[in-house]
Subunit: 224 residues, 2 copies
DNA sequence: AGACGCCATGAATAGGTGTTCAGCTTTTGC
DNA sequence: GCAAAAGCTGAACACCTATTCATGGCGTCT
């Protein structure tokens, strides 16, 4: 007797898997990675604790997939924004702005994905996540360098440094705490983007122009 | 009958306390914060596990003091380097270089102090540590701004961003892995310092000069 | 309709480390 | 030298949450 999964069942299984992941994401967005515990996530997803283990071998795997998923979304958003820009420098500015806006609009989640202490080992997926995003930024820096807009440099290191600057200043423990005010938030995004662009060698005056330009499409997200 | 601590005993107690802290520091430098567990630390300090609790109310307190101690040392080094510089811009460059060299020369410890997951809550002391260092950097940026060497800016945010850039690119998960080679190490320090200076608005050409200048006194540490 | 296999359940288990404390040793004051 | 106080010890405890698994229910095939 060959038991075969009906299409309907396959769909239900997939839905459940997504539900669990979504529940984990909500929990993380809500209370950080600390809130991503098997039992609470199971409740959120309307399944029993044991069921989670039918879909993910371990908590580490669950969180790893969560990180990968968020990372994919992030990367797509960055590419979209950068590709829509008129030139390499604008693209870089757009990419940086996108990262800034995204992490700010989901601070707890971002902090959880990036740096919050977790009781299981997720270094590998965090590493992969960073690699992807940093790689994209590095590519954009490289394009600007090749276009002659920036001095030659170690683009990988620069990209890493930029991300570090963004993360620490926007979602790190020292991040300003009044970022709920849309105006302050936009200012923070602009300030940090300006810093980032100057860091890789964009002249101050030109950088300011790029920042304003890049902020415009992101207006809706920034809410100003 | 009034029992009173003899001078000798006071000294022994203080010595023991230091020994425990030192043991914790060694453990952290050796295997990161994960290695700072009560039992192993006690062994290193040649005391019993219970004894640790006669000096520190909890593991959280022990680690908090460890963080504070390392932070104090770091701050002192930054001040020393900056104060020895001839002008505000040089001082800023020196401060940044000092941070870079320090975190690189004790990567595991730095990572532990800054961001490594710990099973107890040490956010408060980490926050304080960051505040101190960032405050110092902010002060130096401010001095350079007032001297007319840099454009006006949000110095607190800039300082935070700089530290984020340094940490992420030098001890974060994406940090280059060949930093044991002294030459590579020096290059990394210079590259990152250059990025940092440009970020706050130092012109590229001038920044390069400051970087070289600032690296010279740190030569010994950098080992090149 | 019957038999069999996959899926879901959630209470019980496991494992590891911070913390406690009753007993022992060392120091103090007379 | 002796009693009292303080310090030290380390085995036992406590706690917490990831993970397991015996059981029951549902879907699939003949």
């Amino acid at each position: 007797m060959v038991y075969r999964r009906t299409h309907q069942v396959v769909k239900r299984l997939a839905a459940r898997r997504s539900a669990i992941l979504a529940a984990a994401r909500e929990a993380a967005a809500d209370g950080g990675m600390a809130a991503v515990q098997i039992a609470p996530v199971a409740v959120r997803a309307h399944v029993a604790a044991g069921t989670v283990y039918r879909y993910f071998p371990s908590k580490a795997d669950l969180i790893s997939e969560l990180i990968a998923e968020v990372s994919r979304d992030e990367l797509a958003a960055i590419r979209r924004a950068a590709d829509a820009a008129p030139g390499p420098s604008s693209a870089l500015a757009a990419a940086v702005t996108t990262v800034a806006v995204h992490v700010l609009s989901q601070r707890k989640l971002a902090w959880g994905i990036l740096a919050e202490p977790v009781d299981v080992d997720v270094t590998a997926s965090r590493l992969a996540s960073r690699r992807e995003i940093a790689g994209e930024i590095a590519t954009r820096i490289d394009a600007a360098v090749r276009a002659g807009h920036l001095p030659a440099q170690d683009t990988a290191l620069a990209a890493t440094a930029l991300l570090g600057a963004l993360h620490e200043s926007l979602v790190g423990p020292l991040a300003p705490d009044n970022l709920d005010d849309p105006v302050k938030l936009r200012d923070a995004v602009q300030t940090v983007t300006l810093l980032a662009l100057r860091a890789v060698g964009v002249m101050d005056a030109r950088a300011r122009g790029l920042v304003v330009q890049a902020t415009t499409p992101a207006k809706a997200l920034v809410g100003a």
